[in-house]
Amino acid sequence: MKHSIARWALGAALLAPAAQVLADPPPLPPYQMRAPAPAGNRLSPGRDGKALFENHCGYCHLAAGMGTNLLVKQRLAAGAGPATALLANRDDLTAAYVHAVVRMGKGAMPPQTRVDATDSELDSVAAYLGRGK
């Protein structure tokens, strides 16, 4: 799974606007299903961060998503591998950083409303993406 995503991300590196200009974008991967929203009250803490990430952030941050595509370019420029354009593969994120970007926006990413992701949901997502730090 991880392997195929990494391979796709390499393709996206070529697709991504960069110094090199491409004649034909590589073929796109198939649609990636998001996890369903986990059960429970959206205002309650402790719901599954991975599922919440996919459900709420997956519009742009799964394979072939807008956020992933734009991040490929940024990751390459930062000397990191293209597979790290998928936020789930990152090991350098902190919960505080995730909070800041989600609420304040970054580049093409607009700030997310509290209907897009509640504060509790954001806590769970931030803990998932910032895990082990």
């Binding site: 974008p25 796109l28 509290r114 209907v115």
Partner: protein
């Protein structure tokens, strides 16, 4: 974002209203902080977002809560701006037309109430996203397809309520709506069509009411908050064939329209056929400065070079046929023969059969994606765009006239030309993408002048926009001027009768309730 209160509402009264709202929805669903106001602003605003400031947002979770909020809004004279998911990028995002309005965010109401695969319909709440519906269909393996807009981050219903378009046989989205449930501006609840009868079984199947049919009176409208609607879907076809024609020259668009529109009207082609100009392909290949490093429009000679270098036609027709394979083969013969009268190169052909994988991004197959938002990266910086969107008859004369007119105006403003014509049958929707960096004031000012010039000149020639950004809603409504603006006068009469306090979406599409008409001059560009 700075706090702008609704007209004639003081800080104390505003707080009292928010407290009353919180009593209905819970305090977590009343969102009135600085970050909240930013999150509900127009992220593609031409210039600063605080030209169209929301004072707060409130998110009800049920029809009863919507009714209660609307009643309280009347008591406290707080204007509400309903959005389904509020992802109306290019036309104002979630931001309200009138400063100080409270965004009524229906995103929490995201139940898929029913999907009927036999009759190919579904019943949705406004918060259901294109992704939600697509995934529900995939999970259940239902034989149904969606029709999606280029940016599918938003709401299935919200897009249809704004008269959005997609690129399948079900691409005229408002036409797929059937049977509404609506909270009126006084908090009353009405069901349209057959749903007016309690327990009627054909609510979302028969598209007309006993008596006048109100469904579309609630789209691009300020007459009610739609809390659910039925939607007709496309039965999944057994097969599909894509025929891709590169069309070499600018003026070829005339014969393209005269070839495809009759086939669409006759039913040989049933899709909304999208015909983008070359820049639609270039935005996927790099950033603008990779191809032209000066601020003004890319000159003709350089465009010619780029088309030759990247083997692009001026236009591209990626036409798709759907259905049983033998039927598609027969239709494809007709289409190929018609196109061959003008074009010697045969089309590239791509077959798909039920069970084959689909790409993560194929609007002509109803797969939702937000990746086209990447387009904003073309100009760099905080890239954004507005769409100038007039509708013209689907004949060569009208399409060529529109093309030449907008081309000349856009060139006179030294801006790149990026247009598409979507052939919907008897008409074509012409979307002109005007891209800018929000942080370059000169560029933004130029875009605003250009946008206003396009509206004015296009109306003089006899064509109007089907949809527009907040800042031009009044300007565009002004262009609908028959008999001293009879349409606006009718809208206002109905508006005042249903919404005497003027609390629901004041100014939407240039319709102002008398209670708020003194605000109509602000927020215009």
């Amino acid at each position: 974002m700075k706090l702008v209160l609704p007209p004639r509402v003081g800080p104390k009264a505003f707080d009292a209203a928010l407290t009353a709202f919180a009593g209905v929805v819970g305090k977590e669903w009343v969102m009135a902080g600085d970050a909240d106001r930013d999150a509900y602003s127009d992220i593609y605003a031409p210039g600063p977002a605080d030209q169209w400031p929301a004072s707060a947002a409130v998110a009800p979770g049920s029809v009863e809560e919507v009714q209660a909020i609307v009643r309280l809004a009347n008591q406290h004279t707080i204007p509400l701006w309903p959005v389904s998911r509020g992802k109306n990028l290019g036309y104002g995002t979630a931001a309200p037309r009138m400063a100080g309005s409270v965004v009524l965010d229906l995103g929490r109401m995201n139940r898929i109430i029913d999907i009927d695969a036999r009759l190919a319909t579904c019943v949705l709440e406004p918060g259901v996203s294109f992704f939600d519906l697509y995934e529900a269909v995939q999970r259940e393996k239902l034989p149904l397809w969606l029709s999606v807009p280029g940016n599918a981050w938003g709401s299935v219903l919200g897009n249809a309520f704004e008269h959005g378009i997609g690129y399948t046989p079900y691409g005229l989205h408002a036409r797929n709506l059937c049977g509404f449930e609506v909270v009126l501006p006084d908090g009353d609840l009405v069901r349209t069509g057959m749903g007016a009868m309690s327990g009627n079984h054909a609510w979302h199947l028969h598209p007309m009411s006993f008596g006048p049919t109100f469904d579309l009176a609630f789209t691009q409208s300020s007459l009610g908050v739609v809390t659910r609607a039925g939607l007709w879907m496309q039965p999944a076809p057994a097969a599909s064939l894509e025929l891709v024609f590169d069309i070499p020259n600018e003026d070829d668009i005339g014969w393209v329209i005269d070839t495809i529109a009759p086939l669409k009207i006759a039913g040989t082609i049933d899709q909304n056929v999208f015909v983008p100009s070359w820049l639609g392909k270039m935005v996927l290949k790099g950033q603008r400065h990779d191809f032209w490093d000066k601020p003004g429009a890319i000159p003709e000679w350089r465009v010619k070079e780029l088309l030759a270098q990247y083997k692009l036609g001026y236009w591209q027709v990626a036409l798709r046929l759907y259905g049983e394979e033998p039927v598609i083969r027969a239709k494809a013969d007709v289409v190929r023969a018609a196109m061959a009268r003008h074009l010697s190169a045969p089309p590239a052909e791509h077959w798909w059969h039920a069970g084959d994988p689909m790409n993560a991004m194929d609007t002509t197959m109803g797969v939702p994606s937000a990746a086209p938002l990447q387009m904003s990266d073309w100009v760099g910086g905080r890239g954004a765009h507005m769409g100038f969107s007039p509708v013209v008859p689907a004949t060569a004369e009208h399409v060529m006239g529109q093309l030449k007119r907008s081309r000349a105006i856009i060139a006179a403003h030294d801006v790149d030309f990026y247009a598409s014509f979507t052939i919907g049958g008897r008409f074509a929707t012409n979307i002109n993408m005007l891209m800018y960096d929000r942080d370059k004031p000169d560029q933004v000012a130029n875009m605003k002048r250009l946008f206003s010039a396009l509206i004015g000149e296009t109306a003089k020639a006899g064509y109007g926009e089907y949809r527009t950004h907040l800042g031009w809603m009044d300007t565009v409504m002004d262009t609908y001027d028959f008999n001293n603006h009879a349409l606006r006068r009718l809208n206002e009469k109905i508006k005042d009768a249903l919404d005497p306090n003027g609390i629901l979406a004041p100014g939407k599409q240039g319709v102002w309730p008398s209670a708020m008409r003194d605000q109509a001059k602000a927020g215009r560009v």
